[in-house]
């Protein structure tokens, strides 16, 4: 699964640390998701989408091997 968290973050001009604080997770979690090393739970994906005011599918997309 790929995601556009990094792009959305750039649009809002906030750091990984800021986003982590707002969502209520650790900075490592945001970093791991952006690097594609961690697939978040549904709850976390929904919270991120809610913060960026976008549907989940706009931020998280399936890839060929999923």
């Amino acid at each position: 699964m790929k995601n556009t968290i990094k792009i959305e973050r750039a649009v809002k001009n906030i750091t990984q640390e800021d986003l982590a604080k707002i969502i209520g997770v650790s900075r490592q979690t945001i970093n791991a998701m952006e690097a594609g090393k961690y697939v978040p739970s549904t709850v976390l994906a929904l919270k991120i989408a809610k913060y960026f005011h976008k549907p989940v599918e706009n931020i998280f997309q399936l890839e060929g091997n999923d």
Partner: protein, 160 residues
């Protein structure tokens, strides 16, 4: 909101508060260093005769074996071992400042990694080492799963 909080809690483990981690480090690191030193001949730690709960005796000694007997105890290596376990458990079982689902997954991965590595080492030792050295090595191996888990988990946390 309350419902959401509950869901997140379900994905993480029940652990001790974060402040125990600092206490854990303060007990774990000194006792680990002293424990390793006690394996070498750098310091000579004296044995002390103490009443123990159960003394199984050694094959060639004529000591009394059984419950509540006095025996020579290598008191310092014993103490270091106890402190490594106490410090290690505090460290390994306390929360990070923000304990979320990704941190929990790192924990699981570290425990699994240390389990596989420990038993790989045990397997090699079973195949290669015989005699009394085997028992000495096995005593050290007992600490390995906890020690490896702690170092692996904290390495994964700090790694960029």
């Amino acid at each position: 909101m309350n419902h959401q909080k509950k869901l997140i809690m379900n994905t993480t483990l029940q652990l001790l508060p974060n402040r125990f981690k600092k206490i854990g480090w303060m007990i774990f690191i000194p006792s680990l260093i002293l424990g390793v030193l006690s394996l070498t001949d750098i310091f000579n730690f004296p044995d002390i005769s103490l009443p123990v709960f159960y003394n199984s005796g050694f094959p060639l000694s004529n000591e009394d074996s059984g419950l509540f007997k006095n025996t020579e105890v290598a008191i310092f290596p014993n103490l270091f071992g106890i402190l490594i376990i106490i410090g290690g458990l505090l460290l390994g079982c306390s929360k990070e400042k923000i304990e979320d689902e990704y941190i929990s997954s790192l924990r699981l991965r570290s425990v699994f990694w240390s389990l596989i590595l420990t038993y790989s080492i045990v397997l090699i030792l079973f195949l290669t080492i015989f005699g009394t050295a085997f028992f000495t090595v096995m005593i050290i191996i007992i600490f390995l799963p906890l020690v490896l888990y702690i170092f692996r988990f904290n390495y994964l946390l700090l790694k960029k």
